[in-house]
């Protein structure tokens, strides 16, 4: 693994980026799948499970990204994020709500004072197909409206055509537009197709200043598959060793059950290390997951299996 990552200040050439990214060790897909499958056999029970479930709740970026989203829907989501289980005052809040940029102001108002963050997708989500000026304007507006986190998409077309410089420049520019907001860079791994590309895109994004690397928009399948998350966790681990900077990871899309979430936490622990077992460095983009986590929490607490009608749907 290279000792120096891409410095964000410079504007690297395509050739330099290509040399760096293609010089990364390859990923054997079958081996990566097997490692992820092996970790999925870890058994997390009783006290460990209770701790993991609470942590997972606190890592959820509760998400609604639909054309039909309304202020009412967003307020309901925010209420759920603040207080996921009205029957249990000990249930922690979710990490953030994640909405389209035009609804940031509504969301921001709705979570005020709760500690729940507001994440906004930006940069012509989900396709990323818009001029840079539009993407930057989108970002600035979201931050101005109160977004604490920006989830941008990379230009997959540029990445796949080898124009790494364009991807790098866009991330750098959006990072600047974020000001104090945190930047999560969505790689849309389902469109990158290979794990080699996932590794390269991870390093490209980290080098350009991403605070988080995120798997997917949720609009493309496959999304956050275990081998993809594994490879991204390896990337942040190696980036820390190379640069001293810890970048977060956010799988999004396809994580629907508490079991999936706990498997992700096991991967976090055994691949990136326990330092990442923290909402500051690991998030899960999801909507239906939250209720399953709460049902499992309730099961552990009461010993009885929970029913969906006892948990709020918003």
């Amino acid at each position: 693994m290279p000792q120096t990552a891409i410095a964000a200040e410079q504007a690297p050439t395509n050739r330099a980026l290509r040399e760096f990214l293609h010089g990364l060790p390859g990923v054997d897909e079958v081996g990566a799948r097997e490692r992820a499958a092996g970790l999925a056999t870890r058994s997390v029970k009783t006290t460990a499970k209770a701790a993991a479930l609470d942590l997972a709740v606190r890592m959820v970026d509760l998400t609604t990204l639909e054309g039909a989203d309304t202020p009412g829907k967003v307020r309901a989501l925010a209420a759920k994020a603040r207080r996921p289980d009205p029957d249990d005052p000990d249930a922690p809040s979710a990490a953030a709500v994640c909405v389209y940029s035009d609804l940031v102001a509504v969301a921001s108002e709705a979570v005020r004072g709760s500690g729940v963050g507001v994440a906004s997708v930006a940069t012509a989500f989900p396709s990323g197909r818009a001029p840079l000026e539009a993407k930057l304007a989108d970002t600035r507006r979201a931050v101005a409206d109160g977004a604490t986190e920006i989830d941008m998409v990379i230009d997959r077309g540029a990445f796949l055509s080898g124009d790494y410089r364009k991807v790098h420049e866009e991330i750098t520019a959006v990072k600047e537009a974020c000001g104090g907001a945190h930047l999560k860079v969505i790689l849309e791994t389902g469109e990158l197709a290979t794990l080699d590309n996932v590794r390269r895109a991870s390093w490209l994004a980290m080098g350009a200043g991403a605070d988080f690397i995120k798997t997917s928009t949720g609009k493309v399948a496959p999304a956050a598959t275990p081998p993809v998350v594994l490879v991204m966790l390896e990337a942040v681990r190696d980036n820390l060793a190379a640069t001293g900077r810890a970048v977060g990871v956010k799988p999004a899309g396809g994580i629907r059950t508490a079991k999936d979430a706990i498997r992700n936490l096991v991967m976090v622990q055994e691949v990136a290390g326990p330092r990442w077992l923290d909402p500051a460095l690991f998030r899960i983009g999801a909507s239906s997951l939250l209720n399953d986590l709460l049902m499992q929490r309730s099961k552990l607490r009461t010993g009885a299996y929970a029913g969906p009608d006892y948990f709020t749907i918003d």
Binding site: S43, V116, R245
Partner: protein, 531 residues
């Protein structure tokens, strides 16, 4: 990777040595504020309710598989001619759980009269029932056995773990399903032997005397019995002295399948029982898996008898990592190569040959990965490394590891407290090893890796082949032509490229040189059981 970022050592014990204290509530140590993601900008830490884990290891609570699925008998008789009946020898040995040294059961030590009786039963079954049973019908018995093994999988897995010391994860996910798969695969051959490449009308060999080792007791039994029976032979099998129980359970499976009496016979005992079996005049074919030393002796004994012999013996497999390898997967492969089954694997990748240009980085990653291995209670579902099978084997591993230190190699093991009772050896890697070190030449058969470096592909191949063994080898490179070039030159019966320790009933397995002769698995494996 700096040391502070290395994953922490597992808590060891993992419940094995009575360490059943649950590891905290997992949230005991949440620091005041969340760790900032980048050191700059707004903290992404969020609300604080409930138990907190931030940045602290997620302790896996003990997750032991229940022993209650296994009903152990106090004493076991040999299985001869379809029945369990007391051995004429009247002698017994005690088989114990290597993880806590508690006795499990008394098992007969079969003597000459018992072996005679078993061989006679096998001969009778061969002459009167099995040889002339249509292949399709023979196959159906094997299918039945495969299904029963699947049905009783959990029971067998727990029993195997108790008797052997290997982790339940492996017996559950590897040994037992693979044993069932061997029967399923060979069942289908029974009525298709004319297509096995031995001519249009191949005949069975006769009565097979088979001796299997303790490292994969049931799976090695399946490798021996499934092809023998499919080809129309009958068998007398002796399980290892320290791991007889799964073979005896397999005898019950044969009864449940209503396999005709005498087709499979299980004689338990020690080395002397094995010697009686392989040198028995009634054997038409001998099959042995075990040490090269014993294999040599069997080959000598059978010289001039005209009896068929296959031997699957020791190894000192080289795992070659080129500088362009997919490093993370190569680390996994090396770990799987030598720590799978506590390294009690004849085809273990016990010599790592890593290209000098990436050696340091690779070893850093390897050590970090080794620190994640969880050693302890074999019945715990999260255990990666179980107990060494016997005190004798542990002594051998210790002695060889000691020569490594004495000869100047540097040993490293992750922090890894060992349970107080039972036989344990921590995963260990030796660096600074040369071809002249005993740890680079002798089969250790334990969780011990010797690391050597090389500069060029020629040097890698020369070092890999510089051993009297020739069972397995690994190659790690992202360059296809180099992989094929290397695989072509490795003098080993199985070459795993960009993977390691993969097995399949359809894939022939066996060695070159002093690793033995003959193949097991696939069409090639049938050759040993057909005339």
């Amino acid at each position: 990777m700096s040391s502070e970022d290395r994953p922490p050592a597992p808590e060891g014990g993992n419940g094995a040595g009575g360490a059943d204290g649950a590891p905290g509530d997992g949230g005991a140590s949440a620091a005041g504020g969340g760790v900032s993601a980048t050191g700059g900008g707004t903290s992404m830490s969020t609300s604080r309710k409930g138990s907190r884990l931030d940045g602290q290891p997620l302790e896996y609570a003990p997750a032991p598989e229940s022993r209650s699925v296994v009903r152990l008998r106090e004493a076991y008789d040999p299985f001869i001619d379809g029945e369990f009946a007391p051995a004429k020898s009247g002698e017994h040995l005690t088989t114990a759980n290597p993880a806590d040294e508690e006795p499990l059961a008394q098992v007969a030590v079969c003597g000459e009269a018992d072996v005679d009786r078993a061989m006679a039963a096998a001969r009778r079954a061969y002459d009167t029932v099995w040889r002339d049973l249509p292949g399709a019908e023979r196959g159906k018995y094997l299918f039945r056995i495969a299904r029963i093994l699947q049905e009783r999988a959990r029971e067998i897995a727990v029993l195997e773990t108790l008797d052997n010391g290997k982790p339940i994860k492996e017996t559950r996910d590897f040994d037992v399903p693979m044993a069932a798969a061997h029967f399923f695969y060979h069942a289908g051959w029974a009525d298709k032997l004319a297509y096995a490449g031995m001519g249009p009308d191949p005949r069975p060999v006769g009565v097979c005397a088979q001796v299997v080792p303790w490292n994969f007791p049931l799976l090695m039994l399946a490798w021996k019995i499934a092809p023998a029976l499919a080809a129309g032979n009958t068998a007398v099998l002796k399980p290892a002295e320290t791991t007889p129980l799964s073979a005896l359970l397999f005898a019950e499976v044969c009864q449940e399948a209503e396999l005709p009496p005498g087709v499979v016979n299980i004689v338990t005992g020690d080395g002397e029982t094995g010697r009686l079996l392989v040198s028995h005049p009634g054997a038409d074919k001998v099959a042995f898996t075990g040490s090269t030393e014993v294999g040599r002796g069997i080959a000598r004994t059978l010289a001039g008898t005209g009896k068929r012999l296959t031997l699957e013996l020791g190894g000192k497999g080289a795992n070659i990592v080129y500088d362009d390898a997919a490093l993370d997967q190569a680390v996994e492969g090396v770990v799987n190569g030598v720590f799978f089954n506590q390294g009690h694997v004849c085809c273990a990748g016990s010599r790592l040959l890593v290209q000098e240009s990436v050696a340091e980085e690779f070893l850093d990653r390897l050590r970090a990965r080794m620190a994640l291995l969880r050693l302890g209670d074999p019945l715990d579902k999260n255990t990666d490394i179980g107990a060494v099978n016997s005190a004798a084997q542990l002594e051998r591993i210790r002695a060889l590891a000691e020569t490594g230190r004495a000869e100047g190699a540097e040993a490293w093991s992750p922090p890894c407290p060992l349970p107080e009772r039972g036989h344990w050896f921590p995963p260990t890697v030796f660096t600074g090893v040369t071809q002249a070190h005993r740890v680079a030449r002798e089969e250790i058969f334990g969780p011990v890796l010797s690391v050597l470096t090389f500069r060029t592909p020629e040097e890698a191949v020369a070092k890999a082949n510089n051993t009297p063994y020739g069972l397995s080898a690994g190659v790690w490179t992202e360059k296809g032509s180099r992989m094929l070039w290397t695989a072509e030159r490795l003098r080993a019966g199985v070459v795993w490229s960009n993977t390691f320790n993969r097995f399949d009933p359809a894939s022939p397995f066996g060695g070159y040189k002093e690793s033995g002769y003959g193949r097991e698995g696939g069409r090639h494996g049938l050759e040993a059981y057909l005339a």
